[in-house]
């Protein structure tokens, strides 16, 4: 069984979207998918987080990108992850360190988060992956 492992570090829309797209595509292909949400990526999974903004790194082009995404009704990265979970074996893990540091509780996170795990457990899991991405 092919396995894709993604470290979801970034919290901006332009980087969360590819996480959603790749997780969906991999689930469609029948890959096992695991996503380790850490730092800004984990904060994007908080129930009360506003929709993510596009990174400021790209200046006006980023703004244009955001407008295009809205106009074309792109599904949010959360919707894409939900869809990926619906069709395949997709696990989403919250990074224990960020989780503790930010004083989070499991119920603060969206319902698609499966578990809270530490860096060591994640590494042990990702060791078995065929593809590992840091986004």
């Amino acid at each position: 069984m092919t396995k894709l492992s993604i470290i979801m570090f970034s919290g901006t829309a332009d980087k969360l979207m590819p996480v959603g797209v790749l997780a969906s595509a991999a689930a469609g292909l029948g890959y096992d998918v695991e996503i380790f949400a850490t730092f800004w990526g984990l904060l994007a999974l908080k129930k009360d987080s506003p929709p993510p903004e596009v990174s400021k790194d790209y200046g006006p082009i980023g703004e244009m990108f955001k407008k295009v995404m809205e106009e074309k009704n792109m599904p949010s990265f959360l919707d894409m992850l939900r869809e990926a979970k619906e069709i395949g074996n997709v696990k989403i893990y919250a990074c224990a360190q960020t989780f503790d540091m930010m004083g989070l509780k499991k119920e603060d996170l969206v319902d698609i988060v499966d578990d809270v795990i530490g860096a060591m457990e994640y590494l042990e899991k990702s060791k078995e992956s065929d593809i590992t991405l840091f986004i």
Partner: protein, 79 residues
């Protein structure tokens, strides 16, 4: 060639990669073996993604029809 009437139509026009394929996967799961599903997609990734998935999943790609603004994929559920 005889005209094939699909049993189910998935209109995924306007949806982006991998949206149309996701719609097909969800639909095919609920369909019965032997049913033909038509997927309409305007996403350029579908032309590669859908045939690749259909082959991998063991279904049958009956036809790919270029309709100008979009592409129609006819897929038969095999198992």
């Amino acid at each position: 060639m005889a005209t094939i009437n699909p049993d189910i139509i998935v209109d995924a026009r306007g949806s982006y990669c991998p949206g149309p394929l996701m719609e097909l996967i969800k639909t095919i799961k609920k369909a019965e073996v032997g049913q033909v599903i038509a997927v309409y997609s305007s996403d350029s990734g579908s032309k590669k993604d859908i045939p690749l998935w259909v082959e991998k999943a063991g279904h049958e790609l009956i036809a790919i029809n270029d309709k100008g603004e979009y592409t129609e994929f006819l897929v038969k559920k095999k198992k």
